[in-house]
Symmetry: C2
Subunit: 157 residues, 2 copies
């Protein structure tokens, strides 16, 4: 493969890891999520914890969160950008996550994600995941509605 | 330079970009921050906006924020991790930002940061910056105190 073809294959492989991660989120399947995580994964979660320092801690976090939902979650992403060089890859995107709580109420959360991947032994795995929503500095409330979080720099509709 | 020396030099160069960015934050100096940003920088800010899609938009955002503070800001970071391969670099860290508002009140914010760098024409520049704090899912309030955001996975003191 020439450079461009190799790069395109790496981008596709990283994109597939992100899709596996999203599938795991949709089905609340920690095992599936773990299949694309390196043991030394460090995450900055969007809620509850400041930093998790291993895939094992991330798994405990997921397994503590999933019982607060029922049924499948919806997880759709856009503005996906993948950068890759050698054995290092980065994927950033914005995502719309829709979950139903145990009382049947639906919650929609727009989140921003930055995921870092490393290729080890020919396999791409996530070594870092950063998910977040911005907050309103006046109220200190999280802004989970993407539209509410655009000021004068909102892109044209 | 052999591979290890080259990598060490790249890590140091990326670390220096982060230090310049922090210096710019401390002095509320948008020009200094811009000196390490690529024109196509995309940022996920910790507050107010969901996504900014250029260095120009980021500069407008900074210039809109700075008048809410007075004097220098403190910005200290720890748990710094830099990964680099070829012309792509990633730096993640946690930081403690202390600012004084226009009424003289001091605000301390612990934030998580993931910054992505690309080397173009021999110079490393930020192409992506993601800063955030987690939120409490019960109250939907941002958690700017690092200690409040650790659950059972809190590292030993």
């Amino acid at each position: 493969m020439d450079g461009d073809a190799k790069r395109a294959a790496d981008v596709a492989a990283i994109r597939a890891c992100v899709e596996t991660w999203l599938e795991g989120c949709r089905r609340r399947d920690a095992e599936r999520i773990m299949s694309v995580c390196a043991p030394d994964l460090a995450t900055f979660e969007c809620h509850s914890v400041f930093r998790l320092d291993s895939a094992a801690a991330y798994r405990r976090f997921l397994e503590a969160c999933f019982p607060y939902m029922q049924g499948d979650m919806e997880a759709e992403i856009e503005d996906v950008d993948v950068a890759v060089d050698g054995d290092l890859g980065v994927c950033r995107y914005v995502g719309r996550f829709t979950a139903r709580d145990t009382e049947g109420q639906t919650h929609v959360s727009w989140l921003r994600a930055t995921m870092v991947f490393r290729r080890t032994g020919g396999k791409w795995l996530a070594v870092h995941a950063h998910l977040s929503a911005p907050f309103d500095p006046m109220t200190e409330k999280v802004m989970l509605n993407r539209e509410s979080a655009f000021g004068s720099d909102a892109p044209a509709a």
